[in-house]
Amino acid sequence: MAQENANVIDQPEVLTPRMVTIEISGKTYEVPEGITVIKALWYTGQEVVRGAGCLGGFCGACATYYRTKDDPKVKTCLACQTAVQDGMSFTMMPPFPARKATYDIQKLQDPKQDLFNLYPEAPLCRNCNACTEACPQKIDVREGVWKAVFGDFKGVSEMFMDCVMCGMCTPVCIADIAPNLVALYVSRAQGAHFTEKPKGLETRIHEIENGRFNEEWNHILKMNEKELVDHCATVK
């Protein structure tokens, strides 16, 4: 036992969970401290259909508004990535009716100019920073919108690689911009129009089309299992 106890991580709240009081959409419940917001919903008997997706912080389905004890500020989080605490009050965000522009990415003639046709509200950013404060992924969203408008598409695409499209930047925007959708357009345009086509990839595609590996394929596909096992062992 001594050996075993030496390697035990002390986390007593899990064995005998301390209960905390939380408020879900205005109703009070007792739940174990430290469980995630989404698990608190399940714990209180609520079925979750909308508002759950990957459960791993990547899909943005569980955008949630919350407040902590004695703090009037309403904050945002992903419900699958946030632990409940005593006195917390939360409600999930319904899908927000933001307008997504539609476009044929490959047929764009002037992607930087097209931004203003597709998202004419983008240059109207009033610098209030509410979007940045709302972002659970800690992206400097306001900076991203400015970079987009000033044509720094590369900068935007790098900044928004973390974006899970939860859309929490959108309802807070006083200029009615959907920054995540603007960034998605900009990132795609950057990838499709302003990034060099990789030469090695073209070479490989041509090699395959021209049958460069055919002889090797014929050789391998004729092998019996034993020969194939031996051949695989030679690959280092």
Binding site: E4, N5, N7, V8, I9, D10, Q11, V14, G34, T36, K39, W42, Y43, E47, V48, V49, R50, G53, C54, L55, G56, G57, F58, C59, A61, Q81, A83, K100, T102, Y103, I105, Q106, K138, M161, C163, S187, R188, A189, G191, A192, T195, E196, K197, P198, G200, L201, E202, R204, I205, I208, F213, W217, I220, L221, E225, L228, H231, C232, A233, V235
Partner: protein
């Protein structure tokens, strides 16, 4: 003892471990290790399937029960279609989106139906990358051989050849759509080495590869104005008089009504089964990964392949409690992160195949060299700070921003503190048997992505799933579209259900559950 005290052994032994090189196991040792410790080897977890195309073959109890489950649909159901289409795609992950886009591009009318939102899938969570042989020293043949070795030589050769050969064209397609893969200074694609691969072959988008690809594909599906049925869970397929697939019945999860879709061809891209929590394992899978496609196609008479083998990703989080089962990307190990037991020792070559690494972690824990948390979970350390020590400060933050953020939310800085991990149920190696057209033995029923089986053999190599999705998503889409163009709509019946129920009766009874499960039952019922 708190976590920081226990972590000291990892910090103390780091320098000594850095000088070590651990050989890979010999094939014999490897087989023995897997036989003794891999969850697939626990016979008590398995039972034979009693009837249907795979009668007599073993699979895990959880899946067997669902395969022998009954449909929600009665034989007197009203089959007047609400929608009619050429190609019906079921599932909105990577394979579903790729299939829908290619079928639409080929001129077919496409409906994409999905249980949750468009894009909700395991694809979006893929962090490690996508294997495509683009490096000059690499080749599709080497990719083939590595995969075959990883899959214990059981992979379907034809499927595998198709996948590795079509990989580069897929990369080109994705780049054309605006996917931002990591690049080298010369503009070529940057490639990383994954476990079980002899050459660097992983294309990555930071550690957000799946998210980046899915953001783009989802956007493209919307831009192409492909008709979507979101929050519609497939509950039964439809069959014409000849037994060929002719559509599907969905349950609209918003209003609980049935939605009938008549389709000339159907592509199932419903993903895997992590949320069945087989053998009680936590899972890295998304909320909807309940194996729906397997049950639906099995009832139609489609044969399954390799459904007795599952992938347990070696590194699922064990601490903190909120992240149980969440993935700690294999990228950490491919960049040199060590696995360390409670005594501060390494015990496996971290870049061996996933089944070998998982088995050895389970061995360490079962033999008392694991670290147990107060919640009763056991794990081993993954030395993440080693990456900063090895490649310079800031490496972890730069290469693994997703991981950093995920742990930071719970006050853990993985660039300074090692993380506790244990295998997590990650992937269904097998699935519905398909041919190189992505078609099953049921006519006009195609399956793509994780729901399909054969390609990965008995163990999947890291990064091969994203490629599988795209290649067979594309093939199924193109072939289903061209097939649909040259044939009339089949009649809508549920005749196969009569057959299935009669067959069950002959072998005793149905299992007593309704399948598909649709969503896991996490809602607490009492108290």
């Amino acid at each position: 003892m708190d976590i920081h005290a226990l972590q000291q052994i990892v910090h103390k032994t780091r320098d000594a471990r850095r000088k070590q090189t651990l050989p890979k196991f010999s094939p014999a040792d490897r087989d023995q290790l897997i036989k003794k410790y891999h969850p697939d080897s626990r016979e008590s977890a398995y039972r034979p399937i009693r009837f249907g195309p795979n009668a007599g073959e073993k699979t895990v109890v959880e899946l067997a029960t669902l395969l022998e489950g009954d449909s929600l649909i009665g034989e007197d159901v009203d089959l007047t279609p609400h929608y009619t289409t050429d190609v019906l795609v079921i599932g909105g992950g990577g394979a579903g989106c790729a299939a829908a886009l290619h079928a639409h591009g080929a001129g077919a009318k496409v409906i994409l139906a999905t249980k949750l939102r468009l894009g909700d899938s395991n694809s979006v969570m893929a962090q490690g990358g996508m294997q495509i042989s683009v490096a000059p020293e690499d080749s599709p043949v080497t990719h083939f051989l590595d995969t075959l070795k990883g899959g214990h030589m059981k992979n379907d050769h034809q499927l595998l050849k198709v996948m590795v050969e079509e990989g580069p064209a897929i990369a080109k397609w994705l780049i054309g759509l605006g996917v931002l893969f990591d690049r080298q200074a010369d503009g070529n694609l940057h490639v990383k080495k994954g476990g079980g691969s002899s050459k660097p072959r992983l294309l990555t988008c930071s550690d957000y590869t799946g998210l980046e690809i899915m953001r783009v594909l989802k956007d493209e599906v919307i831009n192409q104005k492909i008709q979507l049925l979101e929050f519609c869970a497939a509950v039964e397929l439809l069959s014409d008089e000849g037994g060929k697939c002719s559509g599907a019945i969905f349950k609209d999860l918003d209003n609980h009504r049935y939605v009938v879709v008549a389709a000339k061809t159907v592509i199932l891209a419903t993903g895997g089964i992590g949320r069945l929590h087989i053998q009680g394992f936590p899972t890295s899978n998304h909320y909807g990964a309940t194996g729906d496609g397997l049950c639906l196609s099995y009832r139609m008479g489609a044969a399954l392949a390799h459904v007795d083998t599952f992938q347990y990703h070696p590194s699922g989080a064990v601490y903190p409690e909120q992240l149980i089962g969440a993935l700690v990307t294999e990228g950490i190990r491919s960049e040199g992160g060590h696995l360390v037991n409670a005594k501060g020792e390494r015990f496996v070559n971290e870049l061996d195949t996933r089944d070998v690494v998982s088995s050895s972690i389970i061995r360490e824990c079962e033999e008392g060299r694991g670290i147990r948390t107060m919640s009763g979970r056991v794990g081993v350390w993954l030395d993440t700070p080693l990456l900063d020590a090895e490649h310079g400060p800031g490496t972890v933050e730069k290469h693994f921003p997703a991981m950093m953020l995920q742990f930071e939310r719970f006050g853990i800085d993985i660039s300074k503190d090692p993380v506790l991990i244990y295998p997590t149920l990650h992937y269904q190696n097998g699935g519905v048997k398909i041919d190189t057209n992505s078609e099953t033995n049921v006519g006009n029923l195609f399956v793509a992505g994780e729901a399909s089986g054969g390609l990965h053999g008995r163990n999947r190599l890291m990064g091969n799933s994203l490629l599988d999705l795209m290649v067979f998503g594309k093939r199924s889409g193109l072939i289903a579209a061209s097939r649909a163009a040259s044939m009339p709509q089949g009649r809508l019946t549920v005749k196969h259900l009569e057959r299935f129920r009669a067959n069950a009766k002959k072998h005793g009874s149905l299992s007593g559950v309704i399948s598909p499960m649709i969503l896991p039952a996490y809602t607490r019922k009492a108290g």
